[in-house]
Amino acid sequence: MGQNTERSLVKVGTTSLAKRMDPLEEYVAPAADIVETSNAFMVKLDVPGIPKESISVNTLPDRLQVKGLAQKLHHENVNVLLSEIPNMNYYREFHLGKGIDPERIEAYHQDGVLSIILPKNASMIAREIPIK
Protein backbone atom coordinates (compact mmCIF):
# COMPACT_ATOMS: atom_id res chain seq x y z
CA MET A 1 0.00 0.00 0.00
CA GLY A 2 2.84 2.34 0.94
CA GLN A 3 4.82 1.83 -2.28
CA ASN A 4 1.85 2.18 -4.60
CA THR A 5 0.71 5.28 -2.82
CA GLU A 6 4.12 6.88 -3.26
CA ARG A 7 4.09 6.42 -7.03
CA SER A 8 0.63 7.85 -7.47
CA LEU A 9 0.85 10.37 -4.73
CA VAL A 10 -0.59 13.71 -5.60
CA LYS A 11 2.47 15.63 -4.50
CA VAL A 12 2.35 19.26 -3.74
CA GLY A 13 4.14 20.97 -6.57
CA THR A 14 5.87 24.30 -6.76
CA THR A 15 4.75 26.16 -3.70
CA SER A 16 6.77 29.31 -3.70
CA LEU A 17 4.82 32.13 -2.23
CA ALA A 18 4.71 34.28 -5.33
CA LYS A 19 5.88 32.37 -8.34
CA ARG A 20 6.52 34.47 -11.39
CA MET A 21 5.09 32.58 -14.32
CA ASP A 22 5.53 35.42 -16.72
CA PRO A 23 7.02 38.87 -16.30
CA LEU A 24 3.66 40.59 -16.18
CA GLU A 25 1.91 38.38 -13.67
CA GLU A 26 2.51 37.40 -10.11
CA TYR A 27 0.86 34.55 -8.32
CA VAL A 28 0.28 33.36 -4.80
CA ALA A 29 -0.29 29.70 -3.93
CA PRO A 30 -3.69 28.93 -2.42
CA ALA A 31 -3.76 26.87 0.80
CA ALA A 32 -4.42 23.22 -0.01
CA ASP A 33 -5.41 20.04 1.80
CA ILE A 34 -4.91 16.64 0.18
CA VAL A 35 -6.71 13.54 1.41
CA GLU A 36 -6.80 9.99 0.14
CA THR A 37 -9.74 7.61 0.25
CA SER A 38 -9.83 4.06 -0.95
CA ASN A 39 -10.72 5.03 -4.51
CA ALA A 40 -9.65 8.63 -5.00
CA PHE A 41 -7.49 11.55 -3.98
CA MET A 42 -9.13 14.84 -3.13
CA VAL A 43 -7.46 18.22 -3.26
CA LYS A 44 -9.21 21.13 -1.56
CA LEU A 45 -7.98 24.68 -2.25
CA ASP A 46 -9.01 27.97 -0.69
CA VAL A 47 -9.63 30.49 -3.44
CA PRO A 48 -11.75 33.16 -1.75
CA GLY A 49 -12.98 36.02 -3.88
CA ILE A 50 -12.61 34.20 -7.19
CA PRO A 51 -15.83 33.43 -9.06
CA LYS A 52 -16.10 30.04 -10.73
CA GLU A 53 -15.67 31.46 -14.21
CA SER A 54 -12.28 32.90 -13.28
CA ILE A 55 -10.88 29.56 -12.11
CA SER A 56 -9.24 27.09 -14.45
CA VAL A 57 -8.20 23.53 -13.69
CA ASN A 58 -6.03 21.88 -16.33
CA THR A 59 -4.34 18.55 -16.58
CA LEU A 60 -1.09 17.90 -18.36
CA PRO A 61 0.22 14.33 -18.65
CA ASP A 62 1.95 14.50 -15.28
CA ARG A 63 0.46 17.58 -13.69
CA LEU A 64 -2.64 19.26 -12.42
CA GLN A 65 -2.64 23.06 -12.70
CA VAL A 66 -5.01 25.33 -10.86
CA LYS A 67 -5.25 29.00 -11.68
CA GLY A 68 -7.57 31.72 -10.38
CA LEU A 69 -7.75 35.28 -11.65
CA ALA A 70 -7.95 37.97 -8.97
CA GLN A 71 -10.92 40.31 -9.01
CA LYS A 72 -10.90 43.97 -8.16
CA LEU A 73 -11.57 44.34 -4.43
CA HIS A 74 -12.16 48.05 -4.14
CA HIS A 75 -13.58 50.80 -6.29
CA GLU A 76 -11.65 53.83 -7.38
CA ASN A 77 -11.57 56.94 -5.19
CA VAL A 78 -11.36 54.97 -2.03
CA ASN A 79 -9.18 55.30 1.03
CA VAL A 80 -7.86 51.81 1.80
CA LEU A 81 -7.14 51.77 5.52
CA LEU A 82 -6.19 48.11 5.89
CA SER A 83 -5.08 45.74 3.16
CA GLU A 84 -4.35 42.17 4.17
CA ILE A 85 -6.19 40.30 1.44
CA PRO A 86 -3.48 39.36 -1.08
CA ASN A 87 -5.60 40.21 -4.12
CA MET A 88 -3.24 38.38 -6.42
CA ASN A 89 -3.82 35.65 -8.94
CA TYR A 90 -3.75 32.14 -7.51
CA TYR A 91 -1.62 29.43 -9.04
CA ARG A 92 -0.60 26.00 -7.87
CA GLU A 93 0.57 22.79 -9.52
CA PHE A 94 0.31 19.22 -8.31
CA HIS A 95 2.21 16.25 -9.58
CA LEU A 96 0.00 13.45 -10.88
CA GLY A 97 1.28 9.92 -10.60
CA LYS A 98 0.39 7.09 -12.92
CA GLY A 99 -2.37 5.76 -10.69
CA ILE A 100 -4.71 8.67 -11.44
CA ASP A 101 -7.24 8.53 -14.25
CA PRO A 102 -7.06 12.05 -15.79
CA GLU A 103 -10.30 11.67 -17.74
CA ARG A 104 -12.25 11.08 -14.56
CA ILE A 105 -10.98 14.10 -12.66
CA GLU A 106 -13.84 16.31 -11.43
CA ALA A 107 -13.83 19.77 -9.88
CA TYR A 108 -16.42 21.52 -7.71
CA HIS A 109 -16.54 25.05 -6.42
CA GLN A 110 -18.50 26.33 -3.44
CA ASP A 111 -18.08 29.05 -0.78
CA GLY A 112 -14.73 30.09 -2.23
CA VAL A 113 -13.33 26.54 -2.02
CA LEU A 114 -12.29 24.47 -5.03
CA SER A 115 -12.52 20.70 -4.53
CA ILE A 116 -10.87 18.41 -7.05
CA ILE A 117 -11.53 14.68 -7.03
CA LEU A 118 -8.92 12.50 -8.68
CA PRO A 119 -10.18 8.93 -8.98
CA LYS A 120 -7.58 6.22 -8.79
CA ASN A 121 -7.47 3.89 -11.73
CA ALA A 122 -8.46 0.31 -11.16
CA SER A 123 -4.93 -1.00 -10.65
CA MET A 124 -4.52 1.33 -7.64
CA ILE A 125 -7.53 0.19 -5.75
CA ALA A 126 -6.74 -2.48 -3.23
CA ARG A 127 -8.76 -5.56 -3.89
CA GLU A 128 -9.21 -8.43 -1.59
CA ILE A 129 -8.35 -11.67 -3.38
CA PRO A 130 -10.56 -14.55 -2.25
CA ILE A 131 -8.68 -17.68 -1.36
CA LYS A 132 -10.23 -20.64 -2.98
Binding site: V28, A32, D33, P48, V80, L81
Partner: protein
Protein backbone atom coordinates in the same frame (compact mmCIF):
# COMPACT_ATOMS: atom_id res chain seq x y z
CA UNK B 1 3.65 27.56 5.42
CA UNK B 2 2.73 31.08 4.50
CA UNK B 3 0.09 31.37 1.89
CA UNK B 4 -0.70 35.00 2.39
CA UNK B 5 1.36 37.91 1.27
CA UNK B 6 1.88 40.40 4.04
CA UNK B 7 2.45 43.88 2.74
CA UNK B 8 6.02 45.02 2.67
CA UNK B 9 4.73 48.50 3.23
CA UNK B 10 6.00 49.61 6.65
CA UNK B 11 2.86 51.69 7.14
CA UNK B 12 0.66 48.61 6.87
CA UNK B 13 1.69 47.28 10.26
CA UNK B 14 1.03 50.60 11.93
CA UNK B 15 -2.36 51.03 10.31
CA UNK B 16 -3.29 47.47 11.22
CA UNK B 17 -2.48 47.92 14.88
CA UNK B 18 -4.34 51.17 14.99
CA UNK B 19 -7.44 49.66 13.48
CA UNK B 20 -7.46 46.21 15.02
CA UNK B 21 -7.97 45.16 18.59
CA UNK B 22 -5.95 42.03 17.96
CA UNK B 23 -2.68 43.53 19.14
CA UNK B 24 0.11 41.01 18.93
CA UNK B 25 -1.97 38.34 17.29
CA UNK B 26 -0.49 36.30 14.47
CA UNK B 27 -2.03 37.63 11.27
CA UNK B 28 -2.01 34.29 9.53
CA UNK B 29 -4.15 32.59 12.16
CA UNK B 30 -7.02 35.03 11.82
CA UNK B 31 -8.81 35.73 8.55
CA UNK B 32 -7.39 38.46 6.31
CA UNK B 33 -9.31 41.73 6.33
CA UNK B 34 -9.46 44.80 4.12
CA UNK B 35 -11.04 48.06 5.28
CA UNK B 36 -11.87 50.76 2.74
CA UNK B 37 -13.40 54.12 3.49
CA UNK B 38 -15.70 55.65 0.90
CA UNK B 39 -17.46 58.97 1.06
CA UNK B 40 -20.58 57.82 2.91
CA UNK B 41 -19.66 54.39 4.19
CA UNK B 42 -16.87 52.02 5.01
CA UNK B 43 -16.57 48.54 3.62
CA UNK B 44 -14.97 45.67 5.53
CA UNK B 45 -13.96 42.57 3.58
CA UNK B 46 -12.96 39.35 5.29
CA UNK B 47 -11.64 36.21 3.61
CA UNK B 48 -13.73 33.29 4.88
CA UNK B 49 -13.48 30.42 2.41
CA UNK B 50 -15.51 27.36 3.38
CA UNK B 51 -17.51 29.19 6.04
CA UNK B 52 -21.32 29.20 5.93
CA UNK B 53 -23.22 32.32 6.86
CA UNK B 54 -25.03 30.52 9.66
CA UNK B 55 -21.64 29.96 11.30
CA UNK B 56 -20.74 33.67 11.39
CA UNK B 57 -21.88 36.26 13.91
CA UNK B 58 -21.38 40.00 13.51
CA UNK B 59 -21.76 42.51 16.29
CA UNK B 60 -21.17 46.21 16.55
CA UNK B 61 -20.50 48.29 19.65
CA UNK B 62 -19.99 51.98 18.90
CA UNK B 63 -17.18 51.90 16.35
CA UNK B 64 -15.94 48.39 17.11
CA UNK B 65 -17.07 45.66 14.74
CA UNK B 66 -16.57 42.07 15.89
CA UNK B 67 -16.76 39.09 13.54
CA UNK B 68 -16.76 35.60 15.03
CA UNK B 69 -17.22 32.26 13.43
CA UNK B 70 -16.08 28.81 12.59
CA UNK B 71 -15.32 26.82 9.52
CA UNK B 72 -17.04 23.48 9.91
CA UNK B 73 -15.20 20.54 8.39
CA UNK B 74 -17.05 18.22 6.01
CA UNK B 75 -18.64 15.38 7.84
CA UNK B 76 -17.66 12.87 5.21
CA UNK B 77 -18.45 9.31 5.93
CA UNK B 78 -15.81 6.84 4.89
CA UNK B 79 -12.22 6.52 5.92
CA UNK B 80 -9.75 8.99 4.61
CA UNK B 81 -6.06 9.56 5.09
CA UNK B 82 -4.78 13.12 5.36
CA UNK B 83 -1.74 13.47 3.11
CA UNK B 84 -1.23 17.20 3.36
CA UNK B 85 -2.89 19.83 5.50
CA UNK B 86 -2.62 23.61 5.24
CA UNK B 87 -6.16 24.84 5.63
CA UNK B 88 -6.88 26.20 9.10
CA UNK B 89 -10.26 25.39 10.62
CA UNK B 90 -9.87 26.98 14.03
CA UNK B 91 -12.73 29.19 15.22
CA UNK B 92 -11.91 32.84 14.68
CA UNK B 93 -12.73 36.14 16.30
CA UNK B 94 -11.61 39.45 14.95
CA UNK B 95 -12.45 42.95 16.10
CA UNK B 96 -11.99 45.92 13.86
CA UNK B 97 -12.15 49.48 15.06
CA UNK B 98 -13.73 51.59 12.39
CA UNK B 99 -12.58 55.10 11.58
CA UNK B 100 -15.97 56.68 12.19
CA UNK B 101 -19.31 56.28 13.95
CA UNK B 102 -21.74 53.99 12.18
CA UNK B 103 -25.41 54.31 11.38
CA UNK B 104 -26.35 50.88 12.73
CA UNK B 105 -29.67 50.82 10.87
CA UNK B 106 -27.96 50.81 7.53
CA UNK B 107 -25.47 47.97 8.03
CA UNK B 108 -25.60 45.14 5.52
CA UNK B 109 -23.46 42.10 4.91
CA UNK B 110 -23.15 39.51 2.19
CA UNK B 111 -21.08 36.38 1.77
CA UNK B 112 -20.05 35.43 -1.72
CA UNK B 113 -17.30 33.13 -2.99
CA UNK B 114 -15.86 32.97 0.50
CA UNK B 115 -15.59 36.73 0.98
CA UNK B 116 -17.70 38.45 3.64
CA UNK B 117 -18.46 42.02 2.62
CA UNK B 118 -19.87 44.33 5.29
CA UNK B 119 -21.17 47.78 4.41
CA UNK B 120 -21.17 50.23 7.30
CA UNK B 121 -22.77 53.58 6.53
CA UNK B 122 -21.31 56.57 8.29
CA UNK B 123 -23.43 58.11 11.04
CA UNK B 124 -25.14 61.24 9.80
CA UNK B 125 -23.02 63.61 11.86
CA UNK B 126 -19.77 62.39 10.27
CA UNK B 127 -20.87 62.47 6.66
CA UNK B 128 -19.33 65.07 4.44
CA UNK B 129 -21.63 68.03 4.02
CA UNK B 130 -21.41 70.75 1.50
CA UNK B 131 -21.67 74.20 2.96
CA UNK B 132 -23.45 76.78 0.92
CA UNK B 133 -21.77 80.10 0.56
CA UNK B 134 -24.25 82.91 0.84
Amino acid sequence: MLVRMNLDNPMAGIVKEFLSDNFGSNPSSTPAVDVAEYENESIVLMELPGVKKEDITLSLEDDLLTIKGERKTDQDSGAKKILHREIVTEPFTRSIRLPHRIDANGISAELQNGILRITLPKAQEVRPKTIKIN
